[in-house]
Symmetry: C2
Subunit: 341 residues, 2 copies
Amino acid sequence: MEVTIKEIAKLSGVGITTVSRVINNSGPVSPKTREKVMAVVREYNYIPNNSARNLKSNQSKSVALLVKSITNPFFQKMIKVIEQKVALRGYQLIIQNVTNLQNELDIAISEAKDRNLQGVIIMGGSFNYTAAKFSGLKIPCVLLTVSAGDEVSLESYSSVRINDELEAFKAVEYLISMGHRRIGFIMNAPVDEMTPNSLRYRGYIRALEQYNVPFDSSLVASEFSSLSGYDFGFKMMKQLLAQNKDVTAVFAFADIVAIGAAKAILSSGLKIPENISIIGFDGIEEAEFYHPSIDTISQPAEQMALSSVELLFDMLQGGETRHMVFESSLLKRGSCAAIHK
Amino acid sequence: MEVTIKEIAKLSGVGITTVSRVINNSGPVSPKTREKVMAVVREYNYIPNNSARNLKSNQSKSVALLVKSITNPFFQKMIKVIEQKVALRGYQLIIQNVTNLQNELDIAISEAKDRNLQGVIIMGGSFNYTAAKFSGLKIPCVLLTVSAGDEVSLESYSSVRINDELEAFKAVEYLISMGHRRIGFIMNAPVDEMTPNSLRYRGYIRALEQYNVPFDSSLVASEFSSLSGYDFGFKMMKQLLAQNKDVTAVFAFADIVAIGAAKAILSSGLKIPENISIIGFDGIEEAEFYHPSIDTISQPAEQMALSSVELLFDMLQGGETRHMVFESSLLKRGSCAAIHK
DNA sequence: TTGTACGCGTTATCAA
DNA sequence: TTGATAACGCGTACAA
């Protein structure tokens, strides 16, 4: 059994209250008493019992991070930052993976009660949250990379994201500007659910329209899949290549998918960018070190992660909800080239 | 404020004890009473307060996973499995990254008290643990991918790992068998600290010796670095290429490093495997989807992760410590070829 | 400036 | 089969 506050009190010849005041810096204690108590605390290596504290205060200094598909390297970059920043504030971070089949908000609600969390950051997922669901979640919540859709009041959560549609537009516009007109798109979710993917799909469509490039549904490789991003990209690209001999460029909704697609292209004996141009989305290291390095829309991951933590703690301290939209940048690294007849 | 056991008791017209018995399945309760209580529990969506439970039982159902360099995709595969399996057992998993500069065991000790953990899994790190340190950690501990070194009694921890030296030997032997004699080695830690890297280095040395290939220290690119694995591999390979025009093969201590090195080779205008053969270690997806796919020593990551959780829970239930050593397999995928003059 | 005593929500002991 | 009641370790009115 560990040493308790009671024993510390007895050992230092003071009352329990005084010890409590000393270790929490609450209420007045004479410097002499403080030193006396601290000496005993150090000597016995006293650490307050967290369970008891939590029980009293009805709050445990912990927040959760729910991640949709935790293995995506793009999320990894952010997880690392979040983990550090949360720890820095003396909070415990509980990271939990959410599978494709689970609803992240449901999990947040049950976990919040179960672990009595102070707040939660949800990374990834869809935009399809109902106001009802949100009202079931009684703790501050920050959505990272998505927002909650129009139905939900902006006061019920904070969010950090990018403008997926616009950035996707930029990517496709870039391809079009190089003369491409047979541009494939790879995405992994059904179009009818609102996810970053479907927003990027919109950007794709809008770019085609704006530049009068005819839309061809056979160029859109879309499938609900539980494959890893790499495998998925590989499979979809193989399919695209088989069905469309004339495709000259591909936009993949994520870098990991772009890498899988690139592998499919290269292992088919085609060259990047000579035969096919490819561009991804996210800005992960893996794309940079691929050969050739893969062009991408790079999201400011660290910044976004940092902001999500700040927004959460703002809310914990009674601050307003906020919604931040970051800019991404188009990185040209050589996997896209002008088309030549 | 949430509903408490007391209120449930009142609402269902029974005593607190009875409610406690119902929700914990402890002690005898008549079926009728049980149903009555359960109805109220469901109606009010009662969830027992964890803090209070922990306070009573002096244990919180939580274990920690300490990860050295959490961003390595190889660890990611394992993290996912561990997270699932721990959750399956109703335990909370606290994942914490440990930087290169921190000692994982120190952190385990302080966290164990602080969060009153039931157990801890340490992933990565070095073999340099002292018996003294271990005795300071009073909860079950499983080391994953390393063991603790000879000084520490095998009864004070469990471990899951591979035979790093032997597997590295196999990798280098493979290169030698294809005629290579100028074989580079890339590792990231000082040789004097016991890490998986240094064991792999030994395997490298031993293979050279056994096959009478002269050792040349200029072929060993070693540096203590906080770069990412990719960046590190890239930098070291550039260095190797500059210093040794005649290097024909490279063994990297990890796949991510191999990928960085491959990028350095390819972007120098050299070809893999025509000019230089390369082999990595770990077996991550990124190596498979690289172009060319990179040969590697593949560790059974999922199996190892699974076992680590099993071993931990065995110990939690009073079982013995155990030490498992898994076999790895040499995956030949085309990044290594016979040397041709 | 200090200490006593109560209550946080549970579980477990004991008597009914 | 049930139900009071005493802990668990801590924070904090309130009294001194």
